[in-house]
C-alpha cells in the first residue's frame, strides 16, 4: 500500500504534534495515562447520611497520603480520588457510577455502605467491565441480591465485596449472649426490608439450632408508629434477650413504648443492629440508651494499620475527633479499609490502568487494611472476602467528652481485637 503525503495531511499532523507539545507533555500525557482514577461513591446526604458523614475526613487523609503518588511495577502514578454523593438514592448511585465510568474513565470504583449504595454501583461496574470494591453491607444481600445462585459459579467478574455476613452476626451473637446467664428466649423485631428478611431467613434457624427459643411476632413495616401488639407478645413470652434491625426513629419509638409496658426491666441483653452503629442513635434514647448491646464492623481498638495512610485505628479516630469535635464512628475504619484494599488491588495488578488486569488480580488478593487482612482467597464465594462483626456495648462514659463509650465485649470473629470491657446486663 502506497501512501501519498498531501499538503493537508502534513499540516494536520504537524499541527497535532505541535499542539501536543504546546499543551505540555506532563499534562496531555500524564493526565491520560499516568493518573490512577478511583471513584468513591457513598451516601453523604439523605437518610443514610449517618454512614457517609465521616467519609470527607477519611478522603482527606487518603488524599494527603497519596499526594505524592504511588509507584506500581516501577511506574509512577498520581492518584485521583473522585468522591460522589448518592444522596441516599439507589438510582442516583447507579447514575453516578455510570458517569464516573463514561466521563471520568475511572480505573477502579469503590462503593461504601448499605445495599442502596453498593448494589446499583456494583451492577453498573459489572456491566461496564470496571473493577469495583465494596464494603459495609451483608455480603449475602450483595451476592444473592444481585442474581447469584447458591451452589453455582459466581456470575461476577469485575465486582468484589468484603465484610460481614449473616454468619458473622451469628457467631458474634452466640458469643455475646453466652456472657450473661439468661433464659435463652430471644424476642426479635426484624423489619420487612432487605436486611430484615435476610436475617430472618438465615439467622433465626441458626439461633434455634443453637438452643435459643426465638419469639418472632413477624415482619413490621418501617415507619410503624405503634408497636403495642409486638410488645404484648414479648411480655407474654418472657423474653430476656432482644434483637432488632430497625432504623433509629422506629427503634426510639418502639423501645420507649416497650419501656412504658415494663419490657426494659425484663430484658437482660438488648442487641441492636443497624440502629446503634453511631453514638447519636444511642444518645437519642436518653436514659434508655445505657448498656445497649451492639455489634460493629470496625472499632478503634482494631490492632491494625492502614497501609495507605500509615494510620492506626486510634490515630485515625483521635484525628477525626480533634478535627471535627464529634465522637469517632466505626465507619471511619470501614471506609478507609475500602481505600486500602483498592490500592492493594491496583498494586497487585500487572498494569493498574488495565481494568481486566486489576479484575484478574482481585480473586487472589490478600490485602492488609485498617480493618485487618482482607483475603479474597478464603471467602465464602469467589467475589467475597470475610470481615468481622465484633460484639460491643454502649456503656456510660466515666470520663471524656462523650456520653457513651463503645466497649468491645467479645471477639469471636477476630480474636486479634482486644476485649476491653465486660457485658453488663441491660436491666441491672
Amino acid at each position: 500500500m502506497t501512501r501519498t503525503l498531501t499538503r493537508r495531511a502534513a499540516l494536520a499532523t504537524g499541527g497535532a504534534v505541535l499542539g501536543a507539545f504546546t499543551l505540555g507533555r506532563s499534562q496531555a500525557f500524564a493526565q491520560s495515562s499516568r493518573t490512577l482514577k478511583i471513584g468513591f461513591i457513598s451516601p453523604i446526604s439523605g437518610p443514610l447520611a449517618g454512614f457517609g458523614q465521616t467519609d470527607g475526613y477519611v478522603l482527606d487523609q487518603a488524599r494527603a497520603a497519596l499526594a505524592d503518588g504511588v509507584t506500581i511495577n516501577g511506574t509512577a502514578y498520581s492518584v485521583d480520588l473522585l468522591d460522589r454523593d448518592t444522596q441516599s438514592d439507589p438510582s442516583r448511585a447507579g447514575q453516578l457510577a455510570r458517569d464516573l465510568i463514561n466521563n471520568d474513565a475511572v480505573d477502579l470504583m469503590i462503593a461504601v455502605s448499605t445495599p442502596e449504595t453498593i448494589n446499583p454501583v456494583s451492577d453498573a461496574c459489572e456491566a461496564a467491565g470496571v473493577p469495583c470494591i465494596s464494603t459495609v453491607m451483608p455480603w449475602e444481600a450483595w451476592y444473592f441480591g444481585r442474581g447469584a445462585v447458591p451452589g453455582e459459579e459466581s456470575p461476577f467478574n469485575y465486582t468484589f465485596h468484603f465484610g460481614f455476613g449473616v454468619d458473622e452476626f451469628y457467631q458474634a451473637y452466640i458469643s455475646q449472649w453466652d456472657l450473661i446467664e439468661t433464659n435463652k428466649t430471644v424476642g426479635v423485631m426484624y423489619p420487612n426490608d432487605a436486611d430484615g428478611n435476610a436475617i430472618r431467613a438465615v439467622l433465626v434457624p441458626k439461633l434455634v439450632e443453637a438452643g435459643y427459643e426465638v419469639v418472632d411476632p413477624g415482619a413490621y413495616e418501617t415507619g410503624t408508629t405503634d408497636f403495642s401488639s409486638q410488645i404484648a407478645t414479648f411480655r407474654a413470652a418472657g423474653i430476656e434477650i432482644f434483637n432488632t434491625f430497625p432504623i433509629p426513629p422506629d427503634f426510639a419509638a418502639f423501645w420507649r413504648q416497650a419501656a412504658q409496658q415494663g419490657l426494659h426491666r425484663q430484658v437482660k441483653i438488648a442487641q441492636l443492629a443497624k440502629t446503634g452503629l453511631f453514638p447519636a442513635d444511642i444518645e437519642a434514647l436518653g436514659g434508655l440508651g445505657n448498656n445497649m448491646a451492639s455489634a460493629c464492623y470496625w472499632h478503634r481498638d482494631f490492632p491494625y494499620t492502614s497501609p495507605t495512610t500509615g494510620l492506626t485505628g486510634a490515630a485515625l479516630c483521635d484525628g477525626y475527633e480533634a478535627t471535627t469535635g464529634n465522637q469517632w464512628t466505626q465507619q471511619l475504619g470501614a471506609s478507609l479499609s475500602a481505600i486500602d484494599v483498592a490500592m492493594a488491588a491496583l498494586s497487585a495488578a500487572g498494569d493498574p490502568k488495565d481494568r481486566d488486569s486489576v479484575a484478574a488480580a482481585l480473586p487472589t488478593l490478600r490485602a492488609d487494611s485498617i480493618g485487618g487482612i482482607v483475603d479474597f482467597t478464603a471467602g465464602p464465594v469467589k467475589n467475597v472476602a470475610h470481615g468481622p462483626i465484633i460484639g460491643t456495648q454502649w456503656q456510660a462514659a466515666e470520663e471524656g467528652d462523650h456520653q457513651f463509650d463503645y466497649v468491645v465485649t467479645e471477639n469471636a470473629t477476630d480474636p486479634n481485637v482486644p476485649i476491653t470491657g465486660e457485658l453488663q446486663a441491660y436491666n441491672a
Binding site: Y220, E221, T224, T225, S228, S229, Q260, L285
Partner: protein, 295 residues
C-alpha cells in the same frame, strides 16, 4: 383487648396533634401545605437547640411557638400569598419546594444524626400509669392526647368566638368581599399561617419525645397528618380528631391481624375514604341502591 383500644386511642391523639396545623391551613386558606412535615422537623430542631442550651422544654415550646408564628407570617408574606394568587397547583408546588429546601438546609446545619427530645425530660418518655388488669398506659401518650384536645378546642374557640376567628373565616370564604368590608386579608391570612405553624411546635414536641428524627423525617410526619385530615374531612377541627382516631384504630386493627398490617390498615382506610368521597363513586353507589330498591 382493652390495652389495644387504649393504645389505639392514644395513637389517635398523636396523629391529631400532627394533623392540626395541616388541617387548619387547608380549611382557612385552601393551601395543602406539603412543607408541614418539614416545618414540624424544623420546630423540633429549634426545641432541641434550646434544650441543649439548658432551657426547659415548656419554656422552649413557648419560645418556639412565637418563633414559628413569626416564621409563618414571613412565609406567607414572601411565598404563600404570591403562590396562592396563581391557582390551586402553585401553592402545592411552592410548599413542596419549601419542604425540599428545608430538608436539605436542616441536613447542612444539623447533620445526619438522629436526635430526640426525650433526654430533656428525664423518664417521662417511658413512664407509665398502671391500670387494673395489668394494663400499662404511657404517660407521654396521655399527655399528647390531652394536648391535642386542648389545641383543637382552642382553635375552635378562636375561630367561632373571637373577632380574629371571624376575620379568618371571612377571608377564607371570600377574600374579595372580606377586603371590601375593611378586613386586611393579607394580614389575616398571614396570622392564620402563623397559627398553623405554631401548632406544629406541639406536633414537634410530641414527635421528639415519642421517637427520634433526622433532617429528612418530615415526609413521614406529613403522610400520617395528611391521611388523618383526608379521612376526617374539613369543616370543623374536631373532624381532624375523628380522622386521626379512625386512622389509628385502622392501623391497630391491621397490626392485630398481621404485624405487617399496621401501615396497610391505615392506607386502606385512607383509600376507601378517598374513593367514597369521589363524586362518581358516590353516584354509582346511589344508583346501585336505587336499583336494589326498584328490584
Amino acid at each position: 383487648m382493652m390495652g389495644l383500644v387504649i393504645s389505639a386511642a392514644l395513637l389517635g391523639g398523636y396523629y391529631a396533634i400532627l394533623a392540626t396545623g395541616l388541617a387548619f391551613m387547608y380549611s382557612v386558606m385552601n393551601i395543602i401545605n406539603l412543607a408541614h412535615g418539614a416545618l414540624i422537623v424544623l420546630a423540633a430542631y429549634g426545641l432541641y437547640v434550646l434544650g441543649t442550651q439548658g432551657i426547659a422544654l415548656p419554656v422552649g415550646i413557648v419560645v418556639m411557638s412565637v418563633a414559628m408564628f413569626a416564621f409563618g407570617m414571613l412565609l406567607h408574606k414572601t411565598v404563600l400569598s404570591r403562590a396562592s394568587g396563581g391557582g390551586e397547583l402553585l401553592p402545592l408546588l411552592a410548599t413542596f419546594g419549601i419542604a425540599i429546601i428545608l430538608d436539605n438546609l436542616m441536613f447542612q446545619t444539623f447533620g445526619a444524626d438522629n436526635l430526640s427530645l426525650a433526654p430533656f425530660v428525664g423518664d417521662l418518655s417511658w413512664a407509665s400509669f398502671e391500670l387494673p388488669g395489668d394494663i400499662f398506659v404511657g404517660q407521654l401518650s396521655v399527655y399528647i392526647l390531652v394536648a391535642a384536645l386542648i389545641i383543637i378546642a382552642l382553635i375552635e374557640t378562636l375561630m367561632r368566638r373571637t373577632d380574629l376567628g371571624r376575620r379568618i373565616q371571612a377571608t377564607s370564604q371570600d377574600r374579595a368581599t372580606a377586603s371590601l368590608l375593611g378586613i386586611n386579608t393579607g394580614r389575616t391570612a398571614a396570622i392564620a399561617t402563623g397559627i398553623a405553624l405554631a401548632t406544629g411546635v406541639f406536633a414537634a414536641t410530641a414527635m421528639g419525645l415519642r421517637s427520634a428524627w433526622g433532617p429528612y423525617s418530615g415526609s413521614a410526619q406529613l403522610l400520617f397528618a395528611f391521611e388523618a385530615v383526608v379521612i376526617g374531612g374539613i369543616g370543623s377541627m374536631w373532624r381532624v380528631l375523628i380522622g386521626a382516631m379512625i386512622l389509628a384504630f385502622a392501623q391497630s386493627i391491621g397490626a392485630a391481624i398481621h404485624p405487617q398490617g399496621f401501615l396497610i390498615g391505615g392506607h386502606l382506610t385512607f383509600l376507601i375514604v378517598v374513593f367514597y368521597r369521589l363524586p362518581t363513586w358516590r353516584n354509582a353507589i346511589a344508583k346501585f341502591r336505587q336499583a336494589r330498591v326498584q328490584a
